[in-house]
């Protein structure tokens, strides 16, 4: 069975698991009652969420004047947070869809949790533009529906409306993709459960039986949804970047924005996946399913996307100089040396300089380094959006309207509140659904389980050892693969 796998491949499932072991290990978190640690985290999250709801209600009651936005700086923390949360979501789709198309087996260990993270992050993101509208009860006006005002339609030429379509499609498709993957796993829980849990999971598992034809269709559906989600995820952050790029503000009006935003989104998203997975694997004891190899793979993606982001920053600076356009040049000079210089250097350090440590394999495989870097990157990517939005607006064409902006407690409260929402949903998710995709992990067991890879690796090491011996002793190296193969 293991003959088709390279001996250099690291096992993705440790602990010589059988199919039944996988079921038991991965269903455990939904069967046991939560421990003290979970309850502590949950209670904290829910209180933070309640404070966020209070701040949102405060905003709606008093109007968005309580945010201290002004005529110069019309977008502050709200849109910064919106872009940041949307970006976080992108890693989930990248793992579940793009890595499915590339047949990367390591995705099976992390895709379920990453997709959940996507959905929750998009929910947090969607909150900001809606409350930024001010009169939230008129939010339905953004949808094109026949109405008594004419019918008066929204402006389909506006990137803000494109955002509405992009984000609602993204949320819908992510939920469908995630739930379709969950159905067979809910069936696994259902078949082990009794009493009220059995009734609940019977409802949730949609009558899944595991029939061969259903699996065939399930795979066909997953593949096409992955194929759809791949351009979709690229389009979402492209359209978010259009909010800026289609304007005529220096520093925003650039064609590099779409690829640069997408790379930044994947970068920050993977950082958030790392933060969550490092804690989840430890608390739920999933180290054999989310191995150091998984963490290292994700750190490689972080290194690549972080470097792309760095190149984009430098390209922007170069083009500002090369264009000879003084307003563009001023915009970038102002970012680095203007009133918000600290956020620019924070961004440069966290996003461009610090991820370069991941060139070292030892650091890529270190849990502590990974954890600290993931926090750093999340902060850095938040700074990036703040630099783009607030810094640029603070210094516009008219020096008489130049301004400075500091968020109020309400704005900070709403941002902190979205963390409450995010973690409340994630903590609930770890208790009702398997955090690792059970069926998908089983399907890679024979090609990635350590007990199946070990003979292969041992054989490889022996052959390489023989070769080294032969070279060292100046002898001719005779291939004797058959003898070794028979030996194993």
């Amino acid at each position: 069975m293991s003959a088709t796998v390279s001996p250099l491949r690291e096992p993705l499932i440790d602990g010589s698991k059988s199919y039944h072991d996988i079921t038991v290990d991965l269903v455990r978190s939904t069967e046991e009652s939560p421990g003290k640690l979970w309850w502590t985290c949950f209670l904290i999250s829910i209180h933070v969420l309640l404070f966020g709801i209070f701040c949102i209600l405060w905003t709606i009651w008093h109007g968005i004047g309580v945010w201290d936005l002004n005529r110069t700086i019309g977008w502050g923390w709200d849109i910064t947070n919106f872009v940041w949360w949307i970006g976080i979501g992108h890693a989930g789709t990248l793992i579940s869809a793009i890595l499915l198309l590339f047949r990367q087996k390591w995705r099976t260990g992390v895709n379920r949790a990453a997709e959940a993270m996507t959905i929750f992050a998009v929910m947090c993101a969607g909150l900001f533009p809606v409350i930024h509208m001010g009169r939230v009860w008129l939010a339905i006006f953004i949808f094109p529906y026949p109405n008594t005002r004419g019918s008066l339609w929204p402006n389909f030429n506006s990137p803000l409306l494109w955002d509405v379509f992009a984000i609602s499609t993204y949320l819908t498709v992510s939920v469908l993709f995630w739930y379709t993957g969950l159905v067979p796993d809910f069936a696994t829980i259902r078949d082990r459960a009794t009493g009220i849990r059995k009734r609940v999971y019977t409802f949730l598992s949609f009558g899944w039986t595991g029939s061969a034809k259903h699996w065939q269709r399930w795979e066909a559906l997953s593949l096409v949804l992955a194929g759809l989600a791949t351009p979709l995820v690229l389009s979402v952050h492209t359209i978010v970047s259009f909010d800026f790029a289609t304007s005529v503000i220096p520093g925003w009006h650039t064609t590099i924005f779409p690829p640069y935003f997408v790379a930044g989104a994947v970068f920050s998203g993977f950082a958030m996946v790392q933060t969550l997975m490092l804690i989840t694997r430890k608390v739920l004891k999933l180290q054999e399913y989310i191995t150091i190899g998984h963490i290292e793979s994700m750190n490689k993606v972080i290194l690549v996307t972080g470097t792309i982001v760095g190149v984009a920053y430098l390209t922007e600076l170069f083009i500002a100089w090369y264009s000879g356009y003084i307003y563009e040049q001023f915009a970038f000079f102002n970012r680095a040396f203007g009133p918000y210089y600290w956020s620019y250097f924070g961004m440069m350090f966290c996003n461009v300089v610090s991820p370069q440590v991941f060139w070292s394999k030892k650091i890529r495989r270190s849990l502590w380094w990974t954890f600290f870097m993931s926090i750093f990157i999340n902060i850095g990517m938040w700074f990036e959006r703040f630099v783009i939005i607030a810094t640029t607006l603070a210094r516009d064409y008219l020096p008489s309207s130049w301004s400075y902006y500091v968020p109020t407690w309400v704005e900070i409260g709403i941002f902190v509140g979205t963390f409450g929402l995010f973690f409340t949903l994630f903590l609930l998710f770890t208790r009702v659904a398997p955090v690792v995709a059970i069926a998908e992990v089983k399907s890679i067991l024979k090609s990635a389980g350590d007990q199946y890879l070990r003979p292969n690796t041992e054989h490889h090491e022996q052959v390489m050892g023989d070769y080294k011996d032969a070279v060292e002793h100046g002898k001719e190296y005779v291939t004797d693969h058959h003898a070794h193969a028979e030996h194993h």
Partner: protein
């Protein structure tokens, strides 16, 4: 739960390799398999079971095309016939600006349409209960089922014994 009024005899196997060789030998002996169940998709099963490739992706293409047309023709009608407005001196029918929404609705229609179709043709949905032959099928057992109307109980039993099934049972569904 719906009653199908069928009497099923089924055998469980411990490994997908045992399942694959058992299915091959069943099709070789022209035994009419009612269905095969597994805890995860077993690759290489479809051809020997004689399952044709799913046409779900064709449905997906049609839904997607429907989304493209809905978005593009809808925006065209709204901005050229129903309520033409000039935005920034651009033409009423500004096609490049329609591309993002057209793309998004293509994806939305294809994804929603395909997923709904998937559950309908599978006979699945929220709260639907289909007969489950054995609790371990969604865990670690691989199952071949025969309808006793088309395969005699005796020959099914000897087949399961020959191919190494670890458990053989009868169930009315």
């Amino acid at each position: 739960m719906r009653e199908l009024g069928k009497e099923i005899i089924f055998g469980l196997y411990d490994d997908e390799q045992d399942l694959l060789s058992a299915v091959s030998s069943a099709t070789h002996d022209h035994m009419d398999i009612y269905d095969v169940y597994s805890p995860f998709p077993v690759h290489g099963l479809d051809p020997i079971l004689g399952l044709e490739e799913s046409r779900l992706h064709i449905a997906g293409f049609i839904y997607g095309a429907l989304g493209t047309l809905t978005a593009f023709l809808g925006m065209t009608w709204i901005f050229t016939k129903d309520w033409p407005i000039i935005f920034g001196g651009k033409p009423y029918w500004s096609v490049p600006a329609f591309i993002p929404i057209t793309f998004e609705l293509t994806v939305l229609f294809a994804a929603v349409g395909m997923t709904v179709t998937f559950y309908i043709i599978n006979g699945q949905g929220p709260g639907v209960q289909n007969p489950i032959l054995h609790d371990r099928i969604s865990d670690d057992k691989f199952c071949i089922a025969f309808d006793t109307h088309s395969v005699e109980e005796g020959s099914a039993k000897s087949f399961f014994e020959k191919t190494g099934a670890t458990l053989v049972e009868k169930k009315n569904i």
